[in-house]
Symmetry: D2
Subunit: 385 residues, 4 copies
């Protein structure tokens, strides 16, 4: 192979923490996994499958790049060299500890480095990865490059783990394919970030995208489902919106729920609610007390989205019990995941210079491919159905 | 076939409502599905696959049974005749409208008719069927006969539907097999009732039992997984406990959640909470404000269960962020579904003559096969793991 | 519903036999399933879900149709009435007994009745249904109407069975949708006929279409994958070609196979062979004895197709052991099933006025959507990949 | 971690060839994959995840082991050190080229090294791995240690591949668990070797064990299904029987098959045949010409096994067309894969000092867990059903 014709591409890896970079430590005489700072880069540098030291030397890579944060993958089948730079967050976070401020920081880091890289990989704990992926999908406006979250169920430092393959796969896609979306990559599948939910706490195959097929599979070949890849019809400049409204919450309907519980929940400082209704978006129509609480909340300016508590499916209004929420003023959430609905609310509610009607309209529109049915406009994405 | 040696068994069908018995009606100039009273029995009587009129006549069935509510299935492969009596609820309910009072009514009806039937089938809407199945599993103490919930995604009156097969399958199991559990039967699979959750709003295969394999499949043959069938080590008399405490609720963690939201939720009249934590039971350990709210609630006598928001998996404490909830006094919910955890709380909190410690202990024990790991006692069910 | 605006469509049902119409009989003091003649029509007439006697009476249906072979379905959701006529074969066949003559008879019956019906349903045993579906797909030239094979794993006369739903679903599609293909319908899925193979002898879900997704699913809604439906770019008149060459056979490679076995197999009157090779179309390249036998056969005018013995996948030539068969003169069979490959050989070899080279070219072309990669021409079907 | 209490175990890796150790080479101006000799050990030595050089140095490993063929894994979670020695075959084989002689060589190598190792891993191409696994399962008599075949779909030398994880997983099981079977390990699942078949030529998840669940899964945890692990009730000494009869073959029934084809196939030197019948073991009962050929062959001393051509399922005799093969003298093959049936025939036919009746009896018995129903003896394995 003649290195002179090899194309080099650059990927920025934001290492926010998560299981992938954890080690077992004794805490209060119990073994628990804790993020290990300043270890990942050094470890990856020793793994030939994730760093080609010989190539780095031969091409004098470190004349151009920082030897303390940059590595280079072996030559890919597509004849490219992916040079990746790791930016490690301090402190590293267990993803349970991720906050909206952390989302903002990630967004700003992507924005600040946007022009210098071909793609971005975000290492992240699995617990809230689907939330972060959803939030970033809304925060990243007019995105034109791949942003891929990944992580692992088992630390990369253990002998048998899923971290190496997940990192490698995410780098290979971020560095070689123009998929201008916030994605999540796990166990050889690439998903749209705002479509996934963590469904299995104990398997490598931890995520599901119940209402949209994967964007790509990467086994013997990399097979990209180009018809499904989202393309915003926009030529505007990339911009990250870091304003997020945290006064949102999720309320799950269940048969015995009391109106007192609902009232208490809605009387906080809350401004946006995801109501997890039954089946195709149903709620009791024999509970005027409940509906009254929802109506009062809506009248007071709270936006309430109607989403199903089923993993798969979409809200509709073919039952009388489905009409009741529509009539009460809730906005149909189509087939959004709870993660997407909550973070979309945070994003939309934080918009300035937009009145409540404008925000409600936005909530019903398909902004980033997060829903299959666009209720506020014509259908943009033929392939989501 | 010689009818003289045919064994007759009896099944009571409680028709509580649901899609299976709905018809399309115009409501406010829109077509919606509405329960149709006094129609199911008459319709089933005309279907030879669900009623053998000839056998009824030949054996003078209606000399012994009420011709206005009782039907008889064709001869089964196992050479039995299942005679079933339909008790229709008034009004029929869309399952979104089901309340804890309705659960109590179902329970009492089973109790009142317990000695006269070999098994029970409950026709029910799909939306809250998993909740009712879970609740009944706890309410039915020392159950020795099959109680099987079923329903359909498409009304039985439509040409193509899943109602006929679901009803038939539930009758065949309830009338022929000694599976002394509250079960849910759907699309040729029999599940433990407190293990299922509705996962698909638009498919015949609507339910999943993520942490326990089906009890039986009924395709070419009826294959029962006898090792998994729950057998209480009890010879006490069957009894239905209809006391339920409705002051329970579900709180889903998400990254931006505010302590104000949590406080508002916990300040209602609430007595039991299912906290849907991340992954293997994790919560932020960098949010003392949040943890403080949970601790205050527990100190005030609220029981909080730690359950995962993942469809599949169990809570453990291998992350530091997992220890935080344990340390705060939450009870580990193992791999219970939200439906099981909520209804178990309702059941346990309603117990009289039991102090809070006793109730907490009960919540951590495996009462009806609803969890794989019994945290308060030795493991009873080897097959749940 | 106003019957005056209801559209009536007509479907011809060819009842060739199979489990769907069998009953248990004592044969040599053992219970075995045997086809039951003159029973299906009479039985269906008694089932309200498969015959609406009231409608027939009200519309004087039998003034126009033969009351001894014609039935009418209840009104469909799409507001159509499907009138179907059953033509029962004598004798009824267990599908194990199906021959190429029977395929010819089915083909001729479709041809003879082509103009009088909107669609065709073929009741057939499950054992060889994939073979018949494949053969008919080739025999039916310029097909413009749906031809749908179905059957069941359990006889329709048994209490619990899959026959009613399979028949009903096939009728509903054949009578209402313009899918101009030979299809196979089973357990709520519609498949392209030459893409299926029977994969499970003991489940309702008996068929798989490993290399092409289903054409439709029929659960809560009928969802047709129109992009996948095959459309021949032809306006020629429909015609059934009943000439078939039976001198074909299948040879499965395995590690110890001797050249004597291969020679014996190829020395019969055989003219076309499906060689089931390994993986992506591989064969030993260290066995000149074997390759020699294949070359001799090809030299003598036998056509040998290279198909994989894997359920899923396609032949390629990325291994040296894959080149060996290409070099020996075998024709790459892409991702054809054994059933499709055998019946395509039978069809192509029977062509008159075509020399061996023309036949070989045809074998490598995608004639009816049976293969994903068209090796002899430009790719016709974008959706097959 | 205190190395003094670490247990070292030893695994022998027989590298027979296959994709895992291939590199792309130009052959006749075409890129094809070819086995690369003398490369694997050197490459693995550079991968820290497959060799812990530091540990080797610190413990003076190479004072005891050959530095040219032995490596040591990082410390396992179970606190063991797996030291593995690679024995590379010359020449390395594409698995398409594997012969019964190669099986014998593998068997003898295991026998020769049996006492010196705790377990065995066999690197093998995927194309015939299921055949080799089946054959070795019969050849290894009274096996008391794990023998695990593995390989990969993508060469280990490529950047993204499944070879590293497959090798690592196989080593971890072979070195740590007492599973005294010939197994096949692929994509985080461990299967019984004589139960698998290659079902997908283009996916990492290439194998299926259609009639027996996996023996283990190795994702976040290693979960072994101990109830399914085969335990021969024998204390005899381990012994490898390398005698194999190659005069066996597979004949697939299809509707148009001619008796001439069957006769030609059976007139070779063939001594054992796997007849791939339809569905649950059916064949035409209206084809006396066919049945006559089978009977003649059986009369002449050929053993013919009746196996289904369905991926999943077992032969039975509930159809008249099923009885016909039983009556003709075929032996029911239960739910054996074609790979298991062919290699079992090779093994049994080679037995000396056993008459044809004894061999037929053996063919119907469950020798190594290869079939679910033992037709010649009482059922040994309750978990196979």
């Amino acid at each position: 192979t003649d290195d002179s014709c090899v194309l080099e591409t650059r990927v920025l890896v934001l290492n926010t923490g998560g299981t992938i970079g954890m080690k077992m430590h004794l805490v209060d005489s119990q073994d628990v996994l804790v993020p290990e700072p300043n270890a990942l880069f050094k470890y990856l540098r020793t793994l030939p499958i994730l760093h080609d030291a010989e190539y780095a030397k031969k091409t004098c890579l470190y004349d151009y790049y920082n030897p303390d944060d940059t590595l280079v993958l072996p030559l890919s089948k597509e004849n490219k060299r992916i040079i990746y730079t790791i930016l490690e967050y301090k402190p590293l976070l267990d993803s349970s500890n991720m906050t909206t401020d952390d989302w903002a920081k990630i967004g700003k880091d992507i924005e600040a480095n946007y022009e210098n890289y071909d793609g971005f990989v975000i290492l992240h704990g699995t617990d809230t990865m689907a939330y972060t992926a959803s939030a970033l999908s809304f925060m990243c406006e007019h995105l034109g490059k791949p942003v891929i979250l990944t992580g692992s169920q088992v630390p990369i430092y253990e002998m048998k783990n899923d971290g190496r393959d997940n990192l490698l796969g995410a780098l290979v896609i971020a560095g070689q394919y123009c998929i201008p979306e916030v994605c999540l990559y796990f166990y050889n599948k690439l998903y749209r970030g705002n479509r996934v939910t963590k469904v299995d706490a104990g398997s490598y195959n931890a995520y599901s995208s119940p209402n949209l097929p994967p964007l790509a599979t990467t086994e013997v070949d990399i097979a990209i489902n180009w018809d499904t890849v989202w393309r915003a019809n926009s030529t505007s400049k990339f911009k990250v919106s870091t304003e997020l409204n945290r006064n949102v919450g999720l309320l799950r309907l269940f048969p015995g729920i009391t109106s007192e519980t609902v009232r208490a929940f809605l009387q906080g400082p809350i401004e946006g609610v995801v109501l997890e209704s039954y089946g195709s978006g149903n709620a009791p129509d024999n509970r005027p007390d409940l509906i009254e609480e929802l109506k009062k909340a809506i009248a007071s300016g709270i936006i309430i989205m109607n989403c199903t508590q089923c993993l798969k499916g979409t809200v509709s209004a073919s039952y009388n019990t489905g009409k009741v929420l529509l009539d009460a003023g809730l906005i149909a959430g189509s087939d959004m995941t709870p993660e997407a609905a909550l973070s979309k609310l945070s994003y939309v509610l934080a918009k300035k210079n937009m009145n409540i009607e404008g925000k409600k309209k936005l909530m019903g529109e398909n902004l980033r491919g997060e829903m299959s049915i666009d209720l506020g406009a014509t259908r943009l994405c033929m392939n989501d159905s």
